[in-house]
């Protein structure tokens, strides 16, 4: 199983930090938004867009590209920051988030944003559309990979379990699903609302190759992706053990951090801490 070279690991950690800072500036400009679930997927975005995915930012519709379906579409701002840093569109565009006429709506939209591969927002749906994209590529005999990011609260949707059953049986080698298991949903802690139980065992029972890794460790994420790719004849899921609001001192570990309002002072302090290399 291939491990990440130290230099690459350092580059991806730096990229993750840059995504986190850029996302904070983007949301900070607006003063409110889905901060918690954007911060928790930063490392997986860094690994995917920084190392793993076959992409061409100058040609977002490139037929040979790998696809990302951000099924937890409310984390759009983190994806937009990543895409801007990769050069899909100018970074200044990030400050148009949620403004009338913007190309960057609260939830991801394939028809508006260069580099966004699927329209998502109503939870559960991106999973099925991602399965369809993977099936479509397999039908064409193409090797494009499809990555899907699910939320943990999203896993309470019935459609997810339709997809887990179908996707397990479809044995899609070109698909890797991530679950951002940050333990929190809009109304509070998942364990206090409708617990998911042993997620890994559930996916395995449905026929998936399932792994659990530290979702803030770029090396662990990279290694898990390589292990998933090396496994043939099974669809793969990687459960990311994450912290909602990760890296943002006023959001991390806070109970109601799904959608927040924040002051410029809070953002400034969070940026200072991140840029100064402090852990929250």
């Amino acid at each position: 199983m291939s491990k990440l070279q130290a230099a690459v690991g350092e580059r991806l950690e730096a990229f993750a930090k840059e995504i986190r800072i850029t996302t904070l500036k983007e949301l900070g400009h607006l003063g409110f938004g889905h901060l918690g679930g954007a911060m928790s997927i930063v490392e997986v975005l860094a690994v995917l867009y920084g190392e793993v995915m076959k992409i061409d930012p100058k040609n977002p519709q490139w037929e040979e590209r790998d696809w990302l379906v951000l099924s937890k579409g409310h984390a759009g701002p983190a994806l937009y920051a990543t895409l801007a840093l990769k050069g899909y569109f100018p970074r200044e565009m990030l400050f148009t988030l949620n403004q009338g006429g913007t190309k960057l709506p609260s939830h991801a939209d394939r028809n508006l944003t260069p580099g966004v591969d699927m329209t998502t927002g109503s939870l559960g749906q991106g999973f099925s559309t991602g399965l369809g994209v993977a099936l479509g590529h397999r039908l064409d005999g193409k090797d494009n990979n499809v990555y899907i990011i699910l939320g943990d609260g999203e896993c309470q949707e019935g459609q997810i379990w339709e997809g887990v059953l179908y996707g397990g049986n479809a044995k899609l080698d070109n698909l890797i699903v991530f679950v951002d298991y940050n333990k929190q949903q809009l109304d509070g802690f998942i364990d206090q609302i409708n617990p998911l139980g042993d997620l890994r065992a559930k996916w395995e029972e449905f026929g998936w190759h399932a792994q659990e890794v530290d979702g803030h460790d770029v090396g662990a994420i990279f290694t898990a992706i390589q292990a998933a790719k090396a496994t043939k004849g099974k669809s793969s899921v990687i459960i990311l053990d994450t912290i909602k609001g990760k890296g943002c001192h006023f959001a991390e570990g806070v109970k109601l951090n799904h959608h927040m309002r924040f002051t410029q002072e809070q953002i400034a302090e969070a940026l200072e801490r991140l840029e100064g290399g402090q852990q929250t």
Partner: protein, 315 residues
């Protein structure tokens, strides 16, 4: 009027036409949710095993998967009973398909009282209303096999989502072989000057019968078939209102949100004339034969005649 039953089931004519089209176009794929034997999509699977997907009993996942396939350039036709392919998967049809601008063809079978022995739980009297409010959605109800054969190709290549409302069974033949159709354009089946019967689906045959009965009473009824419920043929409706001065709509659906509502909207905005609506009067479906249900919900030719006379009295 000599109306005869076509001995070919519409579901078979539909799937045979689609199989032919798929021979020349690899992009066409079929999805079904455990009704492949009911919908005859099993025949597509036999013809092209790699391009037919039976997801099992999962309508939401089927529509989403179809949307993903469409994103890779496929032309997916997704099938299940009308009730499940509209109200059950509505949010998926709305967001994953229409809002995302993905080209999925949604085929709902057993519309309205043709669900017959499956009863009220399976009897969609609201399906047109459910999908009609979604922007970009085209809603089509083929009336016979001639029309079905003619329209399948146009539907496949029509840009954007289409809801196709399909009576699976043997239809009354309305059109002569070779008749041409255009999505969005209705057809005048019989001229008349006193009022116009605007009908869709199985109610077209009833309307033609009703028009003959009206002739015997000295009333000249025009019969128009609106097979594209959305976008609706405003011009034909407005011309009929201006030329005949009274309209009766005839549909196999709740009169709320279906053809009757769509026609009422056109009339109110363009040419208000007396309107009566034949169809299910905001009731749930029930179990029984189609003949029984037609009587039960006042959807027979006699019921159309009664509404026509009531409408004429308001002129």
């Amino acid at each position: 009027m000599n109306l005869t039953l076509d001995n070919r089931a519409m579901k078979d004519v539909y799937i045979e036409t689609l199989i032919k089209l798929a021979e020349e176009d690899q992009r066409i794929v079929v999805l079904d949710a455990d009704l492949m034997h009911s919908n005859s999509t099993i025949r597509f699977m036999e013809a092209y095993p790699g391009r037919a997907i039976n997801v099992g009993v999962q309508e939401a996942n089927m529509i989403g998967t179809a949307a993903g396939l469409a994103a890779t350039g496929k032309i997916p036709f997704s099938h299940t009973f009308s009730c499940f392919n509209t109200r059950r998967a509505l949010d998926q049809i709305y967001m994953s398909v229409a809002y995302a601008k993905l080209n999925v063809k949604i085929v709902g079978t057993d519309p309205g009282i043709t669900a017959a022995y499956n009863g009220g739980t399976h009897m969609p009297l609201e399906d047109i209303g459910v999908v009609r409010g979604i922007p970009t959605m085209t809603v089509i109800e083929p009336v016979d096999n001639v029309m079905m054969e003619a329209l399948v190709k146009d539907i496949a290549y029509h840009p954007g989502p289409v809801y196709l409302r399909v009576n699976r069974k043997e239809p009354v033949q309305i059109y002569a072989p070779g008749t041409e159709f255009e999505i969005g354009k209705g057809k005048t089946l019989k001229e008349g000057k006193d009022l116009t019967l605007i009908a869709s689906g199985i109610m077209v045959a009833e309307s033609l019968k009703a028009a003959s009965m009206l002739e015997e009473k000295g009333i000249s009824g025009r019969v128009v078939n609106i097979f594209t419920i959305k976008p609706i043929d405003k011009e034909l409706i407005v011309d009929s209102a201006r030329e005949t001065g009274a309209i009766v709509t005839c549909e196999n659906h709740n009169v709320i949100n279906g053809l009757g509502s769509a026609v009422a909207e056109v009339l109110a905005e363009n040419s208000p004339v007396p309107l009566e609506r034949v169809g299910v009067q905001d009731l749930f479906g029930e179990v029984g034969s189609v003949d029984y249900l037609q009587q039960r919900f006042a959807m027979t030719a006699e019921d159309i005649v009664a509404k026509a006379e009531k409408c004429l009295a308001r002129k």
